[in-house]
Symmetry: C2
Subunit: 192 residues, 2 copies
């Protein structure tokens, strides 16, 4: 079940560096792509940065709408993750082709991809067109956050990754060329 | 054994979003910190972006030297990773306190932390002081790269993560507050 996460805890949902899906919408067109280059950027207000290559359909939608959703997909969606990263929404309807469902977001006009572990609704920070142009880099403010309670204990201190996430629901990390590492054991450092 | 990685393959070493150690040096002082907010930024020339908070000792060294090394530490160094992220090099000698050894880098004047899985020698890209100030974000160019051949097959196509990395040598990903996820199974998406 999708449960709201306090904004000041939202950075935790991507802090472990998983591959993410970037969804965006403009003028009635929705699209989704995969991105390995996404990270948190600040705690309060919460921000993240994501690289969205020039020339992609998602980039066109983000440039126009200035809104997007970053979501963390589970291993169960592996073929869809890799698939949406290797074709263009200009050529195919990725939702139909990869069997992805979507839901309405709470704040932004961009779809939430169903079946993910976590969702971050974002607005592109204004005034950074030079960074977009130079690095394809989009600093964004996180304006709403959600976690699935099969993966996160959303009632405990905001959002805590469960120790016992079922294998099919674990996050994946893109190494290169369709090879991914699945989240393994959860460990704790000995307090300094 | 540490083996050179071609620069055009160097992004692969951090693409899976592990926690990294950031090392820097200036005027005879070396320091090292941990960073979860680091990602690749471009393929050619290879670039990465890392967040280095204002006020940290490492930030002072990077601001002065404009050079740093990003390295991927293994699970075996978990307590050191967490430790160097929770104290300041102004107060303690982190190398001694956490038992970290260092080696000379090949191009930059910043130390390589011994026992890591991969190392990226970087120069801070000039002219981005506004981004440093606004987001504590440092776009860098990767100028030399190394991988340990116990973790990467460095002879195959540049650097390929091995399927059989021993548990103690696997990369870790910081979730929050001293909790980390260890790299698990390596999986391949079905070609689209």
């Amino acid at each position: 079940m999708r449960i709201p996460v306090p904004l000041d805890k939202s950075w935790r949902l991507i802090n472990h560096g998983p591959v993410v899906l970037v969804s965006a919408s403009h003028a009635g067109q929705d699209n989704v792509m995969a991105a390995a280059w996404c990270m948190a950027l600040d705690f309060k207000p919460p921000k993240l940065a994501v690289v969205i290559a020039e020339g992609t359909h998602t980039r066109t939608l983000v440039d126009a709408s200035r809104q997007l959703v970053i979501q963390v997909p589970p291993r169960a969606l592996l073929d869809a993750i890799d698939g949406v990263g290797n074709c263009s929404g200009r050529d195919v309807d990725k939702w139909a082709r990869f069997g992805l469902a979507r839901e309405r977001a709470s704040v932004v006009d961009a779809p939430l991809v169903s079946g993910c572990n976590a969702w971050l609704e974002c607005r592109v920070i204004a005034g950074e067109d030079a960074i977009h142009a130079r690095y394809d880099l989009f600093p964004c403010e996180i304006v709403a956050a959600w976690a699935d309670d099969a993966v996160y204990d959303a009632h405990h201190d905001g959002a805590r990754l469960r120790d016992d996430v079922p294998p099919a629901r674990r996050a994946v990390h893109h190494v290169a060329g369709g090879v991914y590492v699945v989240d393994g054991e959860v460990v704790r450092a000995r307090a300094g």
